[in-house]
Amino acid sequence: MAEQVIKPDLDFVKGVIAAGGDSLKKCYQCATCSVVCNVTPDKNPFPRKEMIWAQWGLKEKFQGNPDVWLCHQCNDCTAYCPRGAKPGEVLGAIRKQTISQYSSPGFLVNLVNNKKFMPFLFILPAILLAVVISATGNLGIPEGEIVFTKFMPVFPIQIVFTLALIFGVGVGIMGMKKFWADMKEANGVTSGDLKGSITGMLTELLSHEKFKECDVSRDRATSHLLVFYSFIALGIATALGVLYIDILHMESPFRFGYGTPIKIFGLVGAVTIIAGTFLMMSNRFKNAEKVGLGSYFEWHPIGLIGVIGVSGTLAWGTRVANMAGLAYPIYFIHLVGVLSLFLYLPFSKLAHIFYRGAALSFNKYSGREAAVQPAAETTAPAAGAGTESAHESEAESGQGEKTRE
């Protein structure tokens, strides 16, 4: 192999540390992390090599590196790390660094993920909405029966939120494309089965098959699945709303009976989003001792989704209970939350929708994934099968230990 000149970058190391990877330097490179990890491919496994790159400040190594995104942050590595280097958290911090590399403008990533700017981040969309509402609706407590469109009519909602969503998703997709190109270049991959790999990724996503291979934080797959499906349900409910209002021109579909599909999806979504975020939080507290509580970067989207779920449900509840003084302010909070979600989507941890999706697809696209067998099928590796099976057997013995515990 040709000698490569490495250029340690102190600022990159400091950046990772500041982003929540403060344990990064504790790593003494024993590779326990790569051995206990259930989701890593066998070839060039992570997270050990990423730990070294990050420790040394080899910023360019992360250019087009899919592995930090293959990591689901199960934190098995963190739980078993003998030196408390928390590879799970460090990879999370590195992911934050790569988000700023691909989602432009990158400075927004630091803004969104900085605790200090949190009030500002909510005040900005709040002012925006207040301006729009006072121009088109009634910024106050409207009289009579509680109907949210009295507060903010349908049309401005559609305009503001569609634009925000287009901005968020657009930035995300652009970043994803850049990332994809970088992955191809960094890994020397020129062609592959794009359709098949995306289908494969989506199939995995629907069942969260990969996430369930996690060990220490197995429960996180469930909570994530709940939130994931709640978004789908709420998305369907919103789509139905659009269908009723804009296409069928029906009036206020939200006042339909509880047996109609829009209500069913809405309510199921509300319940699952609250249950999911609640589980996410409790899991993190439960595992904090083993794997750490997580950084602001991790908590930001959980909190945001929690606020959206709770405010949405309370808005509905107070409306039904006819408590106008509460219902409208809560509804306003809900709107601010959803707007923040859309606007900050590609800059917060939620950008993983784009980048993890891309990385998981790329892993199949490049053919690396085929090397991994589903955990259920791994049997004792044949003797002398080389380094790959050596890695497998190490991983297995790691699992064995865990089972004994």
Binding site: E3, Q4, V5, K25, K26, Q29, I52, W56, G57
Partner: protein
């Protein structure tokens, strides 16, 4: 002294179950004629001890045979001042290792009673050897951190100290540091050197006399009476000393030999140069004075390398971590790259390593440095293979620091050795002698540090594999040298960091005051600490064959003008190697003599039927191994009678002849492993015994006996589980021969 022997049998610890104790009375009183015989259920209990003490006072018993456990147990209990005490070990050697209540077991136990009484009859009370006057002061050679700590340790304990330092100032290498490693918990941050305070304490101490710009010219005499001459500031001075601590330190390995690491490039410096640069201010590089913001440290520069220093100096990793710390302290934007083979941070310094790892600007990687080459702008590329990435990498640095190892100042380089030999030969020629070009030149004979006036050479002998360090061959007694009264401390003994040197210096300083006290009171130091016997020579019969002077491991026997040997007693460690070496058998101890052992063979019961084998057992290693076998209740062949000796170096061929002519079928010698690197307490007694056995054929030929009847077995203390097989194998060999025909006489 008129002896009155009392035999006391203990029945405890399983002895009563294994043998018929009642039958011992006849052996002790009738056969061996001991006037007092008593048994007790637990002899070491207060009641049991009172029984003996009562007889000492009431009956006038003054020679006591404690027939109980191993002499290695209950030493304190079975000490009776003014009385000869012999221990017959029937607990470990009989009760715990034999089938209970068999004829063989009973015969074995009865033999141990005989041997115990026999020894007691031969032994006398020691009369300590005392110098006319004992000098209680300590000479410390070397004024670095180790030497100063030694000096302070001895001086604070109330002993006068003379501290001799070659340079014009105290402090040594520790005085050249910009910063020092953390000295105490939590071992996290580097410190401002504290050496100044130590120097102040030394120079202001009223019990320490400091000689700077001075070297030792000659040390003659013995512990407690050394005559020291030093050359000081052009003049010379003489004084007396009781003990010596050698803390003459180390020098850095010559980086000039590390051409493959770019040592000729001005921007490739050593860790000692780094301290100088740092002391001057910013970290700049020599070539252009530019500030170095990327400093690469190459660990094991010439260390753990067969072509340079084959060993680890144990301080270099820590020094680089320390230097990385101040590189970062001086400029927070600077980076330090530490390129290591293995990170070695002994002891609590793991904590320092951890704290340095946490610094984002310290990059650490394992790997093998394959070369240093020039990069644009006066920078350097360090190439590395087998890095942690598994790739060959190249890293650019402004400055490269070679973490070189320690060379003890006792080590003489080949070139120096040749130079010295040339001078020596010239001198020899001038005095009319003929130089022998083939004469081997041993580094320790080159005078440079202690200049001892000893027959066996002017410097401390260095172990074969100690790379010139004056390390002890005792694992547990690291300050011991093979010159009694001379202790070594610090990095001349073993490579170590400053904290280690402080501990070492203190230890050696305290050992120095221990020996002056021991000498004053006429007892031996390690390993026969508290022994007041010493070798007594019947000079009238001495033939001046000089074997004893050659073989004494401690240079304790010198020769007068006529070539007659005499002991320099306070150098002696009472091993008894001289006793074994003497063909005229004129060297004996009060409680251990040629005749005593020979008498044992006479007093032993040797029946016409049944095999009898005697085993001479080294008391330091083989005897504890036998005890260990007993603790583990390992069965041992009942044909063996174990006889402890001070060292296998005691073996005198007279014993072989005496034993076998009494009808004993075989003799096995259990001793240490050969070679001076094994921690034989007396250096190589076992090997000497083996040499003497080379002539056993001659002795046994006269008796018409097979030389295979005598065998030496090398074992170490942990081989206790292999002992039964070793013994059985020898018993089988003896079995195959005819019984010893002398049984019938």
């Amino acid at each position: 002294m008129e002896k009155k022997i009392g035999v006391y049998i203990c029945k405890g610890c399983g002895i009563d179950e294994a043998v018929e104790v009642d039958k011992f009375e006849e052996v002790a009183t009738k056969e061996m004629k001991a006037p007092v015989y008593k048994t007790h259920d637990a002899l070491c209990s207060p009641e049991g001890l009172d029984l003996i003490k009562g007889d000492i006072e009431g009956e006038g018993v003054n020679t006591i045979v404690v027939t109980a456990c191993s002499p290695r147990a209950k030493h304190k209990e079975f000490t009776f001042p003014g009385c000869v005490v012999e221990r017959a070990n029937i607990r470990e050697f009989v009760a715990w290792t034999q089938e209970p209540r068999t004829e063989d077991t009973q015969a074995l136990a009865e033999d141990y009673v005989r041997l115990g009484v026999s020894r007691a009859k031969s032994a006398d009370l020691p009369e300590p050897f005392l110098l006319d006057e004992t000098e209680m002061s300590v000479l410390v050679v070397g004024g670095g951190i180790s030497g100063m700590t030694s000096a302070l340790g001895a001086a604070d304990a109330g002993y006068n100290v003379a501290l001799v330092e070659k340079n014009d100032a105290l402090g040594g290498w520790a005085g050249k540091m910009y910063k020092q490693l953390p000295q105490s918990y939590p071992f996290e941050s580097i410190e401002t050197p504290t050496i100044g305070a130590t120097i102040d304490r030394v120079t202001s101490h009223d019990k320490i006399k400091v000689f700077t710009s001075s070297v030792v010219e000659k040390i003659a005499g013995v512990p407690g009476q050394y005559d020291v001459s030093i050359k000081t500031n052009g003049g010379s001075e003489q004084f007396k000393s009781g003990a010596v601590v050698m803390a003459a330190g180390w020098r850095p390995y010559d980086a000039g030999k590390l051409e493959h690491l770019g040592s000729s490039n001005p921007n490739v410096i050593t860790n000692m140069q780094m301290e100088e640069i740092a002391s001057a201010g910013k970290i700049t590089r020599p070539s252009d004075g530019k500030e170095a913001k990327r400093v690469a440290f190459i660990q094991c520069a010439g260390s753990r390398d067969a072509n340079h220093l084959p060993y680890c100096s144990s301080y270099c990793c820590l020094t680089s971590l320390k230097q990385a710390a101040y590189v970062r302290e001086k400029n927070p934007d600077a980076m330090a790259y530490i390129l290591y083979k293995d990170m070695r941070t002994p002891g609590q310094y793991e904590l320092f390593y951890k704290s340095m790892q946490d610094d984002p600007g310290v990059m650490l990687t394992k790997g093998e440095v394959t070369g240093v080459s020039e990069a644009p702008g006066g920078n350097l590329f360090v190439s590395l293979k087998d890095s942690l990435l598994g790739e060959e990498i190249k890293i650019e640095a402004d400055l490269v620091v070679l973490a070189t190892g320690m060379v003890p100042n006792t080590k003489i380089e080949v070139e120096e050795l040749a130079e010295w030999k040339a001078k020596f030969d010239e001198k020899l020629k001038a005095s009319g002698g003929q130089p022998d070009p083939k004469a081997p030149l041993e580094p320790h004979k080159v005078p440079n540090i202690l200049n001892l006036d000893y027959k066996q050479g002017p410097e401390l002998p260095v172990l074969e594999e100690a790379y010139g360090f004056t390390d002890s061959n005792y694992i547990c007694f690291q300050y011991e040298s093979r010159r009694t009264g001379i202790y070594t401390a610090g990095s001349i003994r073993q490579p170590m960091h400053m904290l280690g040197s402080i501990e070492d210096g203190m230890g050696a300083g305290l050992k120095a005051i221990q020996i002056v006290e021991a000498t004053k009171n006429g007892y031996s130091v390690h390993p026969r600490a508290w022994d007041q016997t010493y070798p007594e020579v019947n000079l009238q019969k001495c033939t001046s064959c000089k074997r004893c002077t050659e073989e004494c491991p401690f240079s304790a026997i010198e020769e007068d003008e006529k070539g007659t040997p005499f002991h320099k007693m306070s150098r002696c460690r009472r091993c008894g190697t001289c006793l074994g070496s003497c063909p005229e058998r004129v060297i004996n101890f009060k409680d251990f003599s040629i005749n005593m052992i020979s008498t044992l063979f006479k007093d032993m019961d040797i029946p016409e039927e049944g095999m009898r084998i005697v085993a001479l057992v080294c008391e330091n290693d083989a005897y504890p191994a036998l005890d260990a076998a007993a603790f583990n209740r390992i069965k041992i062949n009942s044909a063996f009678r174990f006889i402890p000796v001070r060292c296998l170096g005691n073996l005198n061929l007279a014993w072989v002849a005496d034993a076998l002519s009494k009808g004993i079928d075989g003799m096995i010698l259990l001793g240490c492993k050969f070679g001076e690197n094994y921690q034989c307490h007396f250096v190589k007694g076992s090997e000497l015994a083996n040499e003497r056995l080379g002539k056993v054929q001659e002795t046994l030929g006269r008796l018409m006996l097979e030389s295979e009847r005598v065998k030496l077995v090398q074992l170490s203390i942990q081989d206790y589980d292999k002992l039964p097989d070793m013994l059985n194998e020898f018993a089988d060999e003896i079995e195959e021969m005819e019984p010893n025909p002398f049984k019938e006489f």
